[in-house]
């Protein structure tokens, strides 16, 4: 009641019109990256009548062993226990009592744990590489080398990694190397020149790529 009375006694406030202002426009957003969707390439598929091998996902034993092989012995382990083996039931490995066939789909759960595994092993691998206690990724490239300072060594290391991880033999200058040099360079750019982060990105990218976990 009192509040209403006070409101009734309050003089009408003067309406103040704001000064017209010129809106400050944000800078133009960057153009979306060219995904190359306007160009359609050709794909040479195998003859449908010819018998083929089905591309399939690695099973968990293959994945565990291959990650260790690719990283010079580093596995996704916690207290000496392989996490991939610990998670094998969730990842579709049969016990032949309740489940009698192996689920080899590269589903979301698989991708999630593969990502976890890649992050874990690549952290350790790159630490060792930069500390000089391992040399399965950098090859002749030095810990601080970039493509700006030693392109030959970095490109050679990327080519060697592509062979080791994916079984693809490429020469420096091969277009198949471009995504990986781009990944390396882009990481350097966004991290302000952190070569550890750049090699880590390459390592993770190589492991989570279908060319690694499928064959």
């Amino acid at each position: 009641m009192i509040a209403l009375a006070l409101l009734a006694c309050t003089p009408e406030p003067a309406v103040v019109q704001p000064d017209p202002v010129t809106p400050v426009l944000r800078p133009e957003p960057p153009a979306p990256p060219d995904m190359g969707l306007d160009t359609v390439g050709t794909v040479e598929t195998p003859d449908a009548a010819s018998p083929t091998r089905e591309v399939r996902r690695m099973d968990i034993d293959q994945l565990d062993a291959s990650i260790r092989s690719a990283t010079g012995g580093i596995g996704w382990d916690v207290d000496g226990v392989s996490q991939l083996q610990e998670l094998s039931a969730s990842l579709g490995v049969p016990d032949f009592a309740q489940r009698t066939s192996e689920d080899l789909t590269a589903g979301l759960l698989f991708q999630k744990f593969l990502d976890d595994a890649a992050n874990a092993v690549c952290d350790t691998l790159v630490e060792r590489e930069l500390a000089g206690t391992s040399n399965v990724l950098l090859g002749a490239a030095g810990p601080t080398d970039t493509r700006a300072t030693n392109a030959a060594a970095v490109d050679a290391a990327l080519a060697a990694a592509l062979l080791r991880y994916h079984g693809r033999r490429v020469s420096p200058g091969d277009p198949q190397l471009d995504p990986w040099t781009l990944l390396f360079d882009s990481t350097l750019t966004v991290t302000g020149g952190d070569t550890m982060a750049a090699w880590r990105s390459v390592c993770i990218g190589l492991i989570v790529h279908p060319d690694f976990y499928q064959y």
């Binding site: 060219d34 195998p46 018998p51 062993a65 690719a70 781009l182 882009s186 990105s201």
Partner: protein
Amino acid sequence: MFLLTLGALATEPPTCPPAEALLPAERWLRAVSLDLRGVIPDPADYQRITEPDALPADLVDEWLASDAFLERAVRHHRSLLWPGFTDTRFVINHHRINVSGGIWRSSTRDRLYRGAAGRTCGDFEATFDAEGRPVPNAQGREGWVRVHPYWEADPTVTIRMCAYDAQDTVVSSNGTVCADQNGRNDPNCGCGPDLAYCVSPDFVTDLRASLAGTLDARVKAVLTADAPYSELLTADRMYVNGPLVHYFRNQSKVPASVRLDLAPLDIAALPDLDPWEVDHWVEVPVHAGHSGALTDPAFLTRFMSNRSRVNQFWNAFLCQPFTAPAGGIAGLDVQNPTLDLANRDGCRYCHAIIEPSKAHWGRWTEGGGGWLDPAVYPSFDADCETCSESSLPCDDACRRYYTVDPLSPELDPFVGSLSAYQFLPDAEHHRVDDGPEGLVEENIANGRLPTCVSQKTAGWLLGREPTADDDPLVAAWTDELLASGWDYRTLVRSIVLSEPYRRSR
């Protein structure tokens, strides 16, 4: 950050690798390495590629000869033989012991020892009377004793166990053999020397893994010896490790859901292996009634009925699953159907094959893996016939393994006969004596078995079930398998070096 950099990748037009109608040698080698060894190649392996369209044959042979290949082959055979025993119970509850509050006991013997379920021993060191019996306190509880359990390799390790449960009696004062079924009702029986007659939860886990491991050991043995692959299904050999030896010697006479009490091997001839020797496998000769994996305790206890044994053999080794025709099976609504499934309308669609085939396992017990020795269990037992036709009770063997007390007049002609002979025509009786090996030989002769071995192996390596379009390929691989004297590595080598394997989709 990783996503940012991945986004940055998209600023360049994507570059696809060249189309791969036939894989480049490096990708081909990678696939072969993963299939034969379970791991990607080393960089040095790639250096051995000298031609763009060929793999280094010596490298492939090295891989085929490696232990890693044995493991991959074992893995493939698990998918055929299904060695899964996660729920299998080996011994009756009276012989299962657990720890609670740091003291071990069998909870199902509480009433026998202390007069009430749930009444455990007291947490004090036991005392004994002049006859060596534990002395209970005023609440009827005895104390505990320290005992070295058989599963511990270190002889100085002991556990605390309720004194009644820990009794090491072999034959009680009542004359009860404590390792037999009757031991569970005799308060003077316990778990025996070093607790040998009882199982801990960890030992059950070891036993389950060991039973599955017998099939793995069998596959490895055939491949290690370069023996004909067919021996996987015919050899009269078995494989045992420490836990299995301990089980057969001390625990097989008190079976639960798995009955191996009619031991499929000569227990007295078992090698001296300690219970903790999980990875030490020894080959033991067995009687001629055995037929490789098909009479392995693991196969028999995984597939408990003779019909399920037939079904798995047809699926895994003849590639001929029993499935109903499109549109279903007619004739299943017949009134008063015969018990003879091989001749019952509708059922005979499958059972005309299943019934005579199951007779091949007629001397192997269902619900376990015991051997019905003809010297002890003749095809006809007059005592079983007599008890069935009189008011005398039939003994355990008659009730379990022979036709007694028929529920239908249809079974009258088989009273007193081994169950395997029910509805089996005289001309088929040889199947019981032939055992599963007879079935194997029959299907080697008609070509089904070697063809299916090729099909299953191709399915493993090609990542898909072969179709009718693949028949010429499978036929060629089968010819190679047979020409090589059933050399499994020859078959695998032919497949991974073939053009279809290299042509991935």
